[in-house]
């Protein structure tokens, strides 16, 4: 974590999915970085994402198995409705039921030592 990315993880701890926004031209960007590539402004703030998006890509890593992951697990690239993409896990759905373009929404998963990760689940999941 650096000064450029701290806000994202602080937001996640409060169950807020924040996207960096250039205050000059309003372009959103992820992953966070210090300069706006569109207008080169250094000033930025954040907007809270709706937490809704679609599955742009997903895979099921099989080998090597990772001891701290159940098998199988789904790694997805989710495109948020706001337009930026992020890598995440899909949860609350069998791995063989996931489809490309599926609508998903954020769900916050808590782990030991204070770690909170934004993951995604089908839009219509309970």
């Amino acid at each position: 974590m650096t000064a450029d990315t701290q806000f994202f993880w602080d937001g996640v701890k409060k169950h807020r999915l924040l996207i960096q926004r250039c205050t000059a031209c309003r372009t959103l960007r992820h992953p966070p970085r210090p300069m706006c590539p569109t207008c080169h402004a250094l000033a930025w703030d954040t907007v809270e994402a709706s937490g809704r998006g679609t599955v742009y890509s997903f895979v099921i890593p099989r080998h090597p198995p990772l001891p701290w992951f159940p098998e199988p697990y789904v790694v997805a690239l989710v495109e948020l409705d706001e337009g930026t993409r992020l890598v995440t896990n899909l949860v609350g759905i069998p791995h063989d039921a996931v489809t490309m373009g599926m609508k998903v929404r954020v769900r916050y998963e808590h782990f030991d030592d204070d770690l909170v990760l934004p993951m995604f689940t089908p839009e219509d999941a309970p």
Partner: protein, 389 residues
């Protein structure tokens, strides 16, 4: 073509390598020194003639250690290229530029590692606590290996163009059939069938099976670059550097460029391809054989499209086993590729293309005038067109 063009100014005059293995039993520095000496001798030169060195940022053998071991007296040019395997062809580009600009007379590019017996890529066990920043977006989600990074990138391409894992299998079959007749290849005399490919286990479902992933190897490769003029007077038939290019594009990362507008190709290789064709004034039809970096098979199909051998989305139909094999329209990876021969970070692709130009390859393509070689893909990358004198 302007006077500033690099085309035709430099040539590869020597190539050298160690054996390729799974456990070299010696240090990476020793592998580097052995391969550099072999390349210099192949060029008919002495180490004292070498005044430039280029390698990968990832290489552990310091230029000055290589120079000290080889007894090089005065080194006038040294540079390193970043982005892993994306550096391979670029090390020749840097060497050729140095020669063309008069910075050095004889430059050796080298890469040596114990990638199998030493520090394996994708093995994070030694890195906990010092994860690079970019990885912090992926590691918590179990996206930890080069295979997984590549697979997540390749999936939208498959979806858009109706490409399946079976389409990738043809690349593996071609590479392994070429390796089967190359005594230097790890998979010498071990060809595979499409059925073997389809029954190999998933590494990252539904993109990569075991036989889509290149092997891991120990070994070293070195390549001597000098002026085209000087190369003419040396013992080996020169491989003229007709074009050399590097490429990177907006919103890329090292191997996780998931934020570009459309993930339906390898735009970095598109930059490299356009530069190569422009610099050389050649077209894909002029190329007799190509070594397309094959760490993972999906990116070979995408490279065919980015380099203009076929249109976007058409590689799955264009890339037939017949077309890509010896005797076909574009034989690729004639040494067996990184999948079949060895994974020396792409440098063994350049040496193979040099052998094709010289006419000394074990799987020789007839009448090679021009050959193309690419560097690692899914990363900022590079490429070369080499030609007969």
């Amino acid at each position: 073509m302007s006077d500033a063009n690099l085309s035709g100014r430099a040539a590869i005059a020597g190539i050298g390598q160690t054996e390729f293995s799974k456990e070299s039993g010696r240090t990476e520095l020793q592998l580097a020194c052995e391969s550099v000496l072999a390349a210099v001798r192949d060029a008919g030169l002495e180490p004292g003639d070498v005044d430039g060195l280029v390698t990968f940022t990832m290489d552990t053998s310091e230029e000055m250690e290589v120079a000290r071991n080889l007894g090089m007296r005065e080194v006038r040019f040294f540079s390193r290229v970043s982005y892993g395997g994306g550096a391979s062809a670029a090390t020749i580009a840097h060497a050729a530029m140095a020669v063309a600009a008069g910075m050095a007379d004889v430059v050796v590019s080298y890469r040596a590692f114990n990638e199998r017996s030493g520090n394996r890529f994708g093995n994070m066990s030694g890195r906990v606590g010092v994860l690079p920043l970019w990885l912090s977006w992926y590691a918590p989600y179990g996206l930890m290996t080069p295979a997984a990074w590549v697979a997540l990138y390749a999936r939208p391409y498959m979806e858009r163009y109706g490409v399946t894992n079976a389409d990738f299998g043809r690349i593996a079959v071609v590479d392994r059939s070429h390796a089967a007749t190359n005594p230097d290849a790890w998979f010498y005399e071990r060809p595979i069938t499409l059925e073997d490919h389809q029954s190999s286990r998933w590494i990252v479902e539904p993109v990569l099976r075991l036989l889509d992933c290149c092997q891991e190897s120990d070994g070293g490769v070195a390549i001597v670059v000098t002026s085209a003029e000087r190369a003419r007077d040396l013992p080996q038939p020169p491989a003229i550097v007709t074009a050399a290019a590097q490429g990177a594009t907006f919103d890329g990362e090292t191997m996780t460029s998931y934020y570009k507008d459309d993930l339906d190709g390898l735009p970095e290789m598109g930059v490299v391809g356009r530069t190569l064709w422009e610099q050389s004034a050649l077209t894909p039809a002029d190329v007799s054989t190509a070594f397309l970096y094959d760490h993972f098979t999906p990116f070979v199909l995408m490279q065919l499209e980015e380099l203009g051998f076929c249109a976007r989305g058409e590689a799955k139909d264009w890339a037939t086993i017949e077309r890509l094999s010896i005797g076909g329209e574009l034989p690729i990876n004639t040494s067996g590729g990184l999948l079949g021969e060895a994974y020396i970070h792409g440098m063994n692709g350049i040496t193979e293309v040099v052998r094709q130009i010289r006419g000394t390859a074990v799987n020789q393509v007839a009448d090679v005038e021009h050959a193309l070689v690419t560097a690692g893909t899914g990363v900022p990358t590079s490429g070369l067109i080499l030609s007969k004198l």
